[in-house]
Every structure is written in C-alpha cells, then in structure tokens.
Symmetry: C2
Subunit: 161 residues, 2 copies
C-alpha cells in the first residue's frame, strides 16, 4: 500500500474506536491539528483500509440476542468451505475462528434464549454435512466484548516494539 502510520494517525484511530461519531473538530482539538487536516487524516485512514467500517453497538438484551454461546466444531475436510460459508452468512454467528488444538473451529453465536440456541444447533449447525461433532459452552456473563484493537505504539492501547 503506502506510507506508515504516525502517532497522530494512531491517536485518531484510538479516538475513533472509542467514538466513531467524533467530529473532525473534536479530533483536531485532541491531536493538535486543524479541522481540515484531521478530516484529511480520517479520509486517508479509510481509503487506505486502516479503518474498515463503522458500527453502532447495540444492547444484546434489548434486541433479543441476550444469550451468548461458544461452540467448538469438528469438521471433515470434505465440505468444510461450504459449511464455513453457510455459518458466516448467519446473523447469529458473530465470530468464527479456525483454531489450533483439538477442535477445528470455535464459533461465537448470539441468540435470544436457550430454545433459540437449541434450534440453531439442531436446524442450522448439525445438518451441515461437514460437521462431525460440536461442543457448546454458555457465556454466563460477558465481562468484556469489544472490537476495539490494541494499537501498537499508543499508550492507551497496547505494547511497543
């Protein structure tokens, strides 16, 4: 791609992770630039693919997604890509990781309640041909759940080289 990120870029990223609706004026004030420059920085970060999207975060209970479950999935090699594609397409599936260790995949899903969980496992997951075995853990409480990345070289965000 191109040029490296500097400290100002990192600060802006950190601010936008905490508040995606921060105005250019706010950003400019915090990082010590003019409004135009701050705006230009954001535009660059988006066009360079550093910022890949903007999400509103919702209260899970209010929208009927209060139950969170972690599901280990063992898959056969045959039909694995199709099964993954089918799962990724489902709105209940919030994460799908190909993991090292005893199981093939770890999936995080959110549904309304245990009935909906049961329905998902029986009607969506198990019918997939590649799915051999599953093991479900309930998230009894999500103490933290964010997509905000630690930003290398930012004090409030992670470690340095």
């Amino acid at each position: 791609m191109h040029s490296e990120m500097d400290d100002i870029d990192r600060k802006i990223c950190g601010l936008l992770q905490a508040n995606a609706r921060a105005s250019s004026a706010e950003l400019a004030e915090t990082v010590g630039l003019s409004v135009s420059s701050a705006n230009e920085r954001v535009r660059r970060l988006v066009s360079q693919g550093v910022v890949v999207g903007w999400q509103a975060r919702l209260d899970p209970d209010v929208v009927g997604a209060g139950l969170c479950a972690l599901v280990f999935i063992d898959m056969d090699y045959e039909g694995e890509p199709e099964a993954c594609a089918a799962l990724v397409a489902r709105p209940e599936v919030m994460e799908l990781h190909h993991v090292s260790g005893a199981h093939s995949y770890l999936m995080k899903i959110r549904v309304r309640d245990s009935r909906a969980l049961q329905a998902f496992l029986q009607e969506v997951l198990k019918p997939l041909p590649a799915v051999r075995r599953t093991e479900t853990l309930l998230s009894l409480e999500a103490l933290k759940e964010t997509t905000a990345m630690p930003i290398a070289g930012l004090d409030s965000g992670g470690d340095d080289a």
Copy 2:
C-alpha cells in the same frame, strides 16, 4: 425504560450496525420516514440505551494486532474479581467470558505476534494470584468477527461489510 421497539426501530438498528455513519437522510429514505423523524428515532435509541456506542473497526494487521488467541483460564475463587478487573482493563483483551464447562473463563486477546502473546501470558496473565491454569488456542484465521447483533424480528439480521 419504556416503549417497545417497532419494525422501524429494528430496521434503523440494523442499518446503523452495518454503517454507523449513515446520515439521517439515508435512514429516512430506507425506512420511509422524514429526516426529522429518522433523526428523532436515532436520538431515542441512544437515550434509551438500545445503541450503547459507536465504534470504528480497524484492520488488525495494520495496527499491529494481527495475532488473535483464545485463552481458557481456570481461577481460584479468592481474588477472582480483581483478576477479572485487571484483564478487562487491558487493551489486548477483546473479550472475557465467564463460561460454563471445565474452565472458568474464556478470553480473546489480540497482540502483534507470538512474542507479544508469550509476554502477555507470562507478565500479565500468570502473575495474577487467582489464575491457576491456562490453555491457549491460536486463531489461525478469523473467518468472521463482528459485534453486529442478530436483531429479533428483522429478516436481514446484521452482518457487516
């Protein structure tokens, strides 16, 4: 607390999960309301706590958080709240779930590389008095990773760009 969400609220939530920077004009167009009404809906959803935040999503690799790991943690009852608080405060910790099953907690962290992972486990996680045992899985590939909730009563529940 108060009134229930209607279909329009759900649609707006879905749209804002996919694009938190959608203008009131866009929202109004999609749900079939005036700009004023759409704006008022968003204001209400925020003040009622349905929308709890706005996040920019960043490319993990670009910001130096390319390595994702899932860590099972067994904890003693003594000192458990302090350990959880310490972990939640760390920017590398993206999720911390109290889970059912053989282990106490499942934590998702993001760091730069395996060296940083090793450092985190040795210098942050293990020194916590309550932490008895840990088991780390590497996410070899995150096929999906979102905070967009499925919205009950909305057909195209939220997946993002």
